[in-house]
């Protein structure tokens, strides 16, 4: 019996009097693609921050592969195999695309804080970087400064950095926000390709993406998960319809 | 006069000027010209310039023009060495400095090193006011001459005064926290224990050099210690502010100082300090002296109306250097140094000798008191420094034992 990739147990988070997360329980199996949806202000970003170690829970626990990570700092969580992206593009704008991805690769390749090696001479690191760039289709733009990339490419780069360290659990925070239709389609394809064999947790507003991508969906409303299930179960759940999903949304993907 | 003639004359004059210029004796003056001790350094510079002008008017130093090159060292030893290097680079072979034994110590070191490393290009350090006794004892150097009486010699005079005044039973020592301040405190402790074992030292305070802006808390301590007299080696702003705080807090015991004559102190002291502030020095302007000396003082104070004739030793230094140049017929630092050793001069206030064994000057000292009954006042206050014959210490009597083992090149 293997432990679930991620297990949230009775998770609470308050900021002063404001209770943002109120008792979330969730288990995500290895290899699962899980989407978290909910109206604005439901606490989705806070939940991501709790999982990834940016905030520490007021009570309750977060377990990654059976190990409690609820009191770890983000970099410690990351080293244990969880990586995340951000809602707004969060890349190293002063570096080239290649250097961005290389930053994501370095630690996992055992080059941590070393100051006795020239990065240019680390053969495996260069190869891995190139492989990832090729995988996500950014190799042609490898030597452009990240700041000069078009928006959709920056989002792609964000995903590339997120997967670069080889984490088994990937958290993506609205990866397709602000993209056009065709860009979204390409992004979904990329996410599927890039997270193959990994556990994916995604927060997304675009229901097309959610229902196309997710194995299971959780609905977060006012800091509580009101429903978890397969896409068709969620679509049929009256509570979900009432709380969150407009009919037309569901028609759209049907 | 026709054109050709006058042109030839002009050319001749400029040629002469050019030659004179090439034979300038450059003296590097390294002292504070800004900051808390700026006024003190500035007063010294004015006196040096005045003395140099005098020598130049009388035909120069062995026929050469004397020029003072000022360098601001902010009383920082390291900065002083940077400035020393600059002075040497600009052709100064004589260095004068006075403010701060910490600086003098660094300069002695650096000059010694320079002279070993650059034979034939020696530099001579003439110290006019840095009075840490070590410079003419353990750390004496052939390349250093001191034209001021050292801290021990002055302390002998002050402790004698304390011993003579039988009402003084408790003494408070306050000084600046560096080598000179410590030397003063140590000398006071040692000499009082020797001469007047019944006098108790009720306080021994060292404060940061040049950083205290309000001495009231220190004065408060002095008052509450019931001291009958205060001994201080403070100079510059530290002297002025100490006295300012003492006056405003009504501390009226005698203040026995090394540098009560510091520029600005008289204004801060005012009427209230009359009869209670003393200083030990080689001069006060109300001493009986020659007409020539009086004329010199008049000329100086006419030129710098906001300054007083204070650094008599600067004139002694320049005169003795001039005589040494005359005597040796050279302005080479080594020749001047040789000629200075053992030189005896008949000064306006008595005979002055430069000891050959440790390069320490012997000059008469005077303990003067701040008074409202004086001929020459200071800082245009109608107050000044006065002394009686009983306050005079003969040059010979200031002589102390030395541990110096002079190494001559």
């Amino acid at each position: 019996m293997t432990a679930p990739a991620l297990k949230l147990t009775d998770l609470h988070k308050s900021f002063g009097p404001a209770k943002i997360i109120q008792g979330v329980n969730l288990e995500i199996e290895k290899g699962e693609r899980h989407a978290i949806i909910g109206p604005n202000g439901a606490g989705k970003s806070t939940l991501f921050n709790l999982i990834s170690g940016q905030f520490w829970p007021t009570s309750g626990s977060v377990e990654l592969n059976g190990q409690d990570i609820s009191r770890m700092k983000p970099h410690e969580v990351n080293r244990r195999g969880l990586s995340r992206s951000f809602q707004v593009s969060n890349v190293f704008t002063n570096m080239t695309v290649r250097e961005n991805v290389r930053c994501g690769v370095l630690y996992s390749m055992g080059h941590g804080y070393s100051f006795w090696r020239n990065v240019g001479n680390l053969r495996e690191v260069q190869e891995k970087t190139s492989a990832i760039l090729e995988h996500v289709g950014l190799i042609d733009k490898a030597n452009l400064p990240a700041a000069l990339l078009p928006y959709a490419d920056q989002r792609t780069l964000e995903i590339a950095i997120t997967i670069a360290g080889g984490a088994g659990v990937i958290l993506l925070d609205e990866p397709t926000a602000g993209m056009s239709h065709s860009e979204t389609d390409r992004a979904v394809a990329l996410i599927e390709k890039a997270t193959e064999g990994k556990t994916l947790i995604i927060v997304e507003h675009d229901m097309g993406v959610v229902f196309g991508l997710a194995d299971r969906i959780s609905v977060l409303v006012y800091g509580e998960i009101i429903a978890t299930g397969r896409p068709e179960e969620i679509r049929g759940d009256p509570r979900v319809r009432e709380a969150y999903l407009g009919d037309e949304n569901l028609e759209g993907v049907a | 006069m026709n054109f050709t003639k006058s042109a030839a004359l002009a050319a001749a004059i400029s040629l002469c000027a050019g030659m004179a210029f090439s034979d300038t004796v450059k003296i590097g003056f390294i002292d504070p010209l800004s900051g808390p001790f700026g006024p003190t350094g500035d007063a010294g510079l004015k006196q040096f310039n005045f003395a140099a002008d005098q020598i130049n008017e009388n035909g120069g130093m062995a026929g050469n023009t004397v020029e003072i090159l000022p360098f601001d060292n902010k009383v920082n030893p390291k900065e002083s060495l940077v400035q020393l290097q600059k002075a040497i680079d600009q052709g100064a072979r004589f260095i004068v400095q006075g403010n701060g034994s910490s600086v003098a110590s660094a300069i002695i070191d650096a000059v010694n090193k320079h002279n070993t490393r650059n034979p034939g290009d020696e530099v001579l350090f003439l110290n006019y006011a840095a009075v840490d006794p070590a410079f003419t004892n353990d750390r004496c150097s052939f390349w250093h001459f001191r034209f001021d009486s050292d801290a021990d010699m002055k302390m002998e005079a002050l402790t004698d005064w304390v011993t003579k005044n039988e009402d003084i039973k408790k003494v408070y020592l306050i000084g600046q926290d560096y080598s000179f301040g410590k030397a003063v405190a140590a000398a006071a402790e040692r000499m009082l224990a020797e001469k007047a074992p019944d006098v108790e030292i009720v306080g021994n305070e060292l404060h940061p050099l040049g950083k205290v802006k309000d001495f009231t808390p220190y004065i408060q301590k002095i008052i509450s210690s019931d001291a009958d007299a205060v001994i201080t080696g403070n100079w510059g702003q530290d002297m002025v502010l100490l006295i300012k705080a003492a006056i405003s807090s009504g501390s009226d015991v005698p203040y026995l100082t090394y540098y009560g004559g510091s520029l600005g102190a008289a204004v801060a002291m005012g009427e209230q300090a009359v009869g209670s502030v003393y200083q030990v020095s080689e001069v006060n302007t109300n001493l009986p002296t020659t007409d020539a000396q009086n004329a010199l003082i008049d000329a100086y104070e006419a030129k710098y109306p906001n300054n007083n004739y204070y650094f008599h030793r600067i004139h002694m230094l320049m005169d003795m250097m001039d005589m040494a140049a005359e005597k040796s017929g050279s302005t080479d630092p080594k020749d001047i140094a040789m000629a200075l050793e053992g030189m005896v001069v008949d000064g306006p206030y008595g005979t002055v000798t430069m000891r050959a064994d440790n390069h320490q000057i012997l000059q008469p000292l005077f303990v003067s008191v701040f008074s409202d009954n004086v001929q020459r006042d200071v800082e245009n206050t109608s107050l000044g420094w006065a002394s009686t014959d009983a306050d005079r210490i003969e040059a010979e009597d200031t002589k102390t034992e030395t541990t110096c083992k002079m190494e001559r090149p």
């Binding site: 170690g53 002063n94 006795w116 090696r117 020239n118 190799i139 490898a142 030597n143 360290g165 | 600009q90």
Partner: protein
């Protein structure tokens, strides 16, 4: 060979020739200049200046590891310079007093290494509490620590020597490369050696994983956490390295000046290295080098021409902060790139701007110089080019006001032109 993939797919990748031109050639030139200088037979004052420049280059480069590379604004970098210098001086004292034994075999030439150790150790101790924060908090802590250490300097006489400081003698111990280190010309070789070596090492540091991550942390500490790095740890390690190189510069200074006083730890030298680095250009590796050369020159030579040199320095610094945040190096790079991109037109507007600034400067200089002489009270008069400018004369005021109006007007006009061209 490792860059094969790059070469196959992207033409923008730096070729080996480019790499050589960007990374190796500048250092070869730098070293060549350092070696060639003595051939011109510099005077003693030139040597003093060059030695000071070398020390300041290393000091400023080490400071830029923090400011430019890691984005940490420190007001206390002189602490590491000073502690390194003190360590070196104490070591020199041991060499002087050594009777054989370990210290008897240590050459004074190696003192910068002792300085490095001292600076790095101090960085490791002080950096621990300081590096938990970045930005303004880091700046404040560095200020507090600097003042604290400087105040302590006056207290522990056996370590810092009180007001007198600690002195040493460099002419002891075994000689390296046949240098006795006595005459200043020999000290030059010592300084040149360590300057080039330190610059090389600091550059190499920027190419290491830690060096790259320090820049990543500067730009985006949050992202850095999610690639497995602890930003605090990155800052801390960079801080130690920067402290080490500052200490190395301190060790060079200890040998050159043979004295250190507690003032060397204080806010003033810390402020000076900040100004050097920023004026030179913190975004460029060569910026601090440029800044160190220009400012050290100003410090030692401009101060002979004018007493108001610090005023000019302040004006220069503020102008750079307001109009050229990338410093002198940024201006040079801008000129180079602009000329290459748009050709002579760019050069022309640039030259026009320089002329305008120069005209305005005439007014500023006349004003400042006349004022300085008046405030000194020695009765000196500012006499440039045989003019006799007294504070009262109308000529003086004309020379202040007219250039200022003309210069600033011209600058404004140029700025407007540029705006229209851009629109």
């Amino acid at each position: 060979m490792s860059d094969m993939a790059t070469e196959n797919f992207a033409n923008l990748a730096p070729s080996n020739a480019q790499k050589f031109r960007m990374r190796v050639l500048p250092f070869v030139l730098f070293a060549a200049v350092a070696v060639l200088i003595p051939l011109f037979g510099p005077s003693r004052s030139a040597y003093s200046l060059l030695n000071a420049i070398g020390i300041n280059i290393v000091f400023a480069l080490s400071y830029n590891m923090l400011l430019g590379r890691a984005g940490l604004l420190s007001f206390g970098h002189a602490v590491y310079f000073g502690l390194g210098g003190y360590a070196a001086l104490h070591a020199m004292g041991m060499i002087e007093n050594a009777d054989g034994g370990f210290w008897g075999s240590v050459p004074v030439f190696a003192m910068p290494l002792v300085g490095f150790a001292g600076g790095a150790l101090a960085g490791a101790v002080i950096g621990w509490p300081s590096c938990r924060r970045a930005g303004t908090a880091f700046a404040m802590i560095s200020l507090g620590v600097a003042e604290l250490i400087a105040a302590m300097g006056f207290m522990f006489g056996s370590i810092f020597g009180g007001e007198e400081g600690i002195s040493g003698d460099r002419m002891n111990g075994p000689e390296v490369f046949g240098l006795s280190l006595g005459p200043i010309g020999e000290v030059y070789w010592f300084i040149a050696f360590w300057t080039v070596l330190a610059a090389l090492l600091i550059f190499a540091f920027t190419r290491t994983p830690l060096g790259r991550m320090s820049e990543a942390t500067r730009d985006n500490p949050q992202r850095v956490e999610f690639v497995g790095y602890d930003p605090t740890r990155v800052r801390y390690l960079v801080f130690i390295a920067a402290g080490g190189f500052a200490g190395l510069a301190g060790g060079m200074s200890a040998v050159n000046y043979e004295i250190f006083t507690p003032e060397a730890l204080s806010l003033l030298p810390s402020g000076f290295v900040l100004i050097m680095t920023y004026v030179g250009g913190a975004r460029y590796f060569a910026g601090p080098v440029l800044g160190a050369i220009v400012l050290t020159y100003m410090q030692s030579n401009l101060s002979d021409f004018t007493e108001a040199w610090l005023l000019y320095l302040g004006l220069l610094f503020i102008t750079i902060v307001m109009y050229a945040p990338n410093g002198l190096a940024g201006i040079v790079a801008g000129l180079w790139n602009g000329t290459r991109a748009t050709g002579m037109a760019y050069l022309k507007t640039w030259a026009a701007r320089v002329v305008a600034i120069a005209i305005a400067m005439v007014g500023v200089i006349v004003l400042v110089e006349v004022a300085v002489r008046k405030s000194n009270g020695y009765g000196e008069v500012f006499e440039p080019f045989g003019l006799h400018l007294t504070p009262g004369s109308p000529l003086t005021w004309a020379l202040v006001i007219v250039p200022l109006i003309v210069g600033l007007g011209l600058l404004r006009h140029l700025a407007r032109d540029e705006q229209e061209a851009g629109a």
